[in-house]
């Protein structure tokens, strides 16, 4: 609650918060099926209609309502983004903490494995994962998640190493606190802030990566809609039916804008340097 108040007290945080809030609402409506039309129903007599009263954002090649698909697509894209980032956060946090805390050989081995993943071309990694496992929502989640895991591992490991050298960890050691206690209460708890910032920014990347995978035909499977799939499906209809590109394109851009604004705001709010008293 405190953090929400802080976000809304922050200039760009307010805008970002509102954008993300609206998207979450739309995503929930989309996932619950509370859309003006059924997003996969094909009104085949109304194919490729420009935006009008009945179809606010027009219809697509199949006569499906673009507005409804957009809502469902936001739901789908956000689902993929959230779960893939959750995957990367979880895996990255565990691995990063393990590397930082166990140190020495473990650190070396874990970070070399992360180096392998980082050095491996990301889009190829995702592509291989999707091709092996077959495309689908959960494959995309895992693929994007694995691609971002090394990044989160690094994000966690750095601060964890410096936290490990902090005095309150020394203090805990003088009481003989167990490793698990120190890692969870002293390291993890203090990583929440930098992780939150990273998560909001990663959500924006994940949305873009999902769009890229869909462009290569490896993302969400039809007839389900995702912003990326709608956008990539529209590419050869750009001249015939520009609204098919405009609306999902704007939807992606604004959502990423929202996440970025929110992330920046969180960085300001959570970064102790920003609260440094003027000298």
């Amino acid at each position: 609650m405190r953090i929400l108040r802080a976000i809304f007290g922050h200039g760009s945080g307010r805008i970002g918060g509102i954008i993300v809030g609206v998207y979450l609402l739309v995503a929930i409506l989309g996932m619950l099926g509370l859309t003006p039309h059924n997003p996969i129903t094909q009104y085949r007599v109304d194919r490729l209609h420009a935006p009008n009263g009945a179809y606010w954002m027009g219809t697509d090649l199949f006569g499906r309502d673009v507005a409804s698909r957009l809502m469902a697509g936001v739901g789908q894209s956000f689902t993929v983004a959230f779960f893939s980032v959750a995957f990367a956060t979880l895996a990255g946090t565990v691995l990063g903490l393990a590397a930082a805390w166990l140190g020495r050989r473990w650190d070396g081995v874990l970070m070399r494995i992360m180096d392998v993943l980082l050095a491996f071309p990301a889009i190829l990694l995702a592509l291989l994962i999707v091709t092996v496992a077959g495309p689908g929502t959960w494959t995309s989640v895992v693929a994007i998640g694995i691609v971002y895991t090394p990044i989160f591992t690094r994000v966690v490991r750095g601060p964890a190493l410096s936290l490990k050298a902090r005095e309150f960890v020394d203090a805990a050691r003088t009481f003989g606190s167990s490793s698990s206690y120190i890692v969870t209460r002293h390291l993890l708890l203090n990583l929440v802030a930098p992780l939150t910032v990273q998560v909001t920014l990663a959500l924006a990347w994940a949305l873009l990566t999902e769009a890229g995978l869909s462009f290569l035909g490896l993302g969400t499977q039809p007839p389900a809609a995702s912003l990326g799939l709608m956008l990539s499906d529209s590419r050869n209809l750009m001249e015939t039916a520009p609204w098919l590109m405009i609306f999902p394109g704007l939807a992606i851009m604004i959502s990423i804008l929202g996440f970025n604004l929110l992330g920046d705001a969180l960085r300001d709010i959570l970064d102790p340097r920003m609260r440094r008293a003027p000298a």
Binding site: R166, E167, F168, D170, A171, A172, R173, T174, F175, G176, S177, S178, Y181, R185, H186, L189, N190, V192, P278, A279
Partner: protein
């Protein structure tokens, strides 16, 4: 005659609504040519903001001058209004007319530029010197602040120089263009006491040479005695008292000034040591802690594959014992190994050699799980900001396999009360407490396990002076009440004098002098101890001529397999001995 600088009714605020958030509230003072004004106050008193307002640097720090006047007399006698001046006009004044040095020399110099370039810049800006001329001028400036081998040092970057050297470089930069006013904002606070003495000496000497005026800002009223002509004491954004040096020191009017002068520890050459709990010669009590031949070395490797080629001898053969109810202070400067000693006792760094024995406490019926506990220097860093006070206090209990029971909570409450914190503290978080309160929390946490020995590593150094005094009092009370033995690590002789029964002086990883506090402080025997004590500023030594000494701390790096020669000790009293010097 018009003063060089005249400040009247200065008001400075911060934030969106500076009028409502005033930090300086109506400060006025005059400064004559060649005069030194010391502004004394604790953190938050507005002393730094006042200083930054004079050259209008406060504009860049988020502050706004909301009222008052600042007038500077220029060389031609005309008055320059600093309040209304435009930014380009101000850049002409800064550096040329008003020089400034800051508290942290490590961060106040640009880390990526050579110090030569940073000094040259002043000459370029105000004298239009370039190329070889500027370099020559920069070399002269370094010579002037007594930096040996100036030509070579010009090519150094700040990370290659020690803090004391850097502060000299800062002074060289500030004085490059012979400003008529130097503002020194806590210039020695971050430095070791002997280095502080050198910087103070340098400032005094340069002032004599150039005849400039100076505003000297400090929290340490003891430091003022050596340099100031006039003193202004600030509290909560207001000047509570100002006047001539002697008048303020000898006849303070305002209660706050009196408090600063009397309630706060000032070094008194061993005359203010504790009279209670002296070591009882005849008694054969078991020591609470006995350290024997402690050695801590950090191996140096030249590459990944090769073996260690040498080692940093951080602690090199330290032994001492500590009786229940006794305070042993370990004093030394940064890098001397005093903190490493403390951390080795706690097992935070692995000792290379040596043994500890911890005596079982007899005074208490309860057996403590962990008889040695520690309080750290930085109260802001040693409490996890994300945990409630209850969790923080519970941690030692949980760590030693205990359960948080009703009696544990009762102990928390009573300890909090004992260290002087409100009872409702348990649900609160560290950021809701002040620095002094946090250090009290750390003390309470250390006492949760009912230890026999508490290691206090610079435990009061980060606190404001008046808070420092109160925490020291608390420590003494607790020691009496629980029969605690303190291993008190500090660089501050004044503080040590107030709390120590015995003192060990450590230099380059070795104890050079150890013994009864009064004896060591009043009759130091080892040359290093003497130098250390001589460097401590006191109220009594006014306008004293400090001696310049440019020696550096010796390197602690030794070749592989090096062992120091066994120490020869000279005994100077029943409980006072010093290492024999070659």
């Amino acid at each position: 005659m018009t003063p060089l600088l005249s400040v009247s009714d200065l008001r400075v605020g911060f934030g969106r609504n500076p009028q409502a958030n005033e930090v300086v509230r109506g400060v006025s003072f005059d400064l004559a040519d060649g005069e030194t004004l010391a502004i004394v106050g604790e953190s938050g008193s507005g002393k730094s903001v006042t200083a930054l307002s004079i050259n209008r640097l406060i504009d860049f720090g988020g502050g706004r001058i909301t009222g008052g006047a600042i007038k500077l007399k220029l060389a031609d006698g005309s008055l320059f209004d600093l309040m209304t001046a435009s930014e380009p006009q101000l850049t002409g004044i800064r550096g040329a007319e008003i020089g400034m040095i800051f508290q942290e020399p490590m961060t106040s110099l640009n880390p990526v530029l050579t110090i030569g370039r940073q000094i040259e810049e002043s000459f370029q800006l105000h004298r239009g010197l370039t190329g070889r001329q500027a370099t020559a001028a920069a070399r002269d400036a370094l010579d002037r602040v007594r930096i040996p081998d100036a030509a070579r040092r010009l090519k150094y970057t700040p990370n290659q120089l020690s803090g004391g050297m850097l502060q000299r470089v800062m002074i060289a930069i500030a004085l490059a263009c012979n400003p008529r006013l130097l503002i020194a904002d806590e210039p020695t606070t971050a430095l070791d006491v002997t280095v502080q003495a050198q910087i103070m000496a340098l400032l005094a000497e340069l002032k004599r040479e150039t005849g400039m005026s100076m505003i000297f800002i400090t929290h340490d009223i003891g430091l003022v005695a050596g340099i100031a002509d006039k003193v202004m004491v600030m509290q909560n954004g207001q000047a509570v008292e100002q006047g001539e040096l002697n008048q303020i020191l000898d006849n303070p009017q305002h209660p706050y000034t009196q408090h600063l002068l009397h309630a706060v520890p000032h070094f008194a050459n061993g005359s203010a040591t504790r009279s209670d709990g002296r070591r009882d010669k005849g008694a054969s009590t078991e020591p609470a802690l006995k350290v024997d031949g402690l050695v801590v070395r950090f191996p140096l490797k030249s590459s990944f594959f090769s073996r260690a080629t040498g080692a940093v001898h951080a602690v090199d053969g330290v032994d001492f014992d500590l009786m229940p109810g006794e305070t042993l202070a370990i004093v030394g400067e940064s890098g001397s190994g005093k903190s490493t000693t403390a951390r080795a006792v706690l097992g935070l760094v692995r000792s290379t050699r040596g043994s500890f024995s911890v005596g079982v406490r007899k005074a208490s019926a309860e057996q403590s799980a962990l008889p040695v506990q520690m309080v750290f220097q930085n109260p802001y860093a040693s409490l996890n900001p994300r945990l409630s006070i209850e969790s923080i206090l519970a941690e030692p209990v949980i760590a030693t396999g205990g359960r948080v029971k009703a009696e544990t909570r009762a102990r928390m409450v009573s300890l909090l009360e004992r260290v002087g914190l409100p009872k409702n503290s348990l649900e609160r978080y560290p950021h809701e407490f002040s620095g002094g309160q946090r250090q009290r929390l750390c003390i309470a946490r250390a006492l949760m396990l009912n230890p026999s020995v508490v290691v206090l590593d610079e435990a009061v150094s980060a606190l404001d002076v008046s808070v420092q005094a109160k925490v020291l009092e608390l420590l003494v009370d607790l020691q009496r009440e629980f029969g605690l033995a303190y291993l008190f690590i500090s660089h501050d002789m004044a503080v040590v004098e107030r709390i120590a029964h015995r003192i060990a002086v450590i230099y380059a990883g070795q104890i050079v002098e150890i013994g009864d506090a009064t004896s060591v402080l009043s009759k130091p025997k080892h040359s290093y101890t003497k130098k250390l004590i001589a460097a401590v500023p006191t109220i009594d030594r006014r306008h004293e001529h400090f001696e310049l000494d440019t020696r550096q701390v010796p390197s602690l790096v030794r070749p592989q397999g090096f062992e120091p020669a066994p120490a020869r000790w000279e005994q100077f009293g029943p409980d006072h001995r010093a290492r024999a010097e070659a």
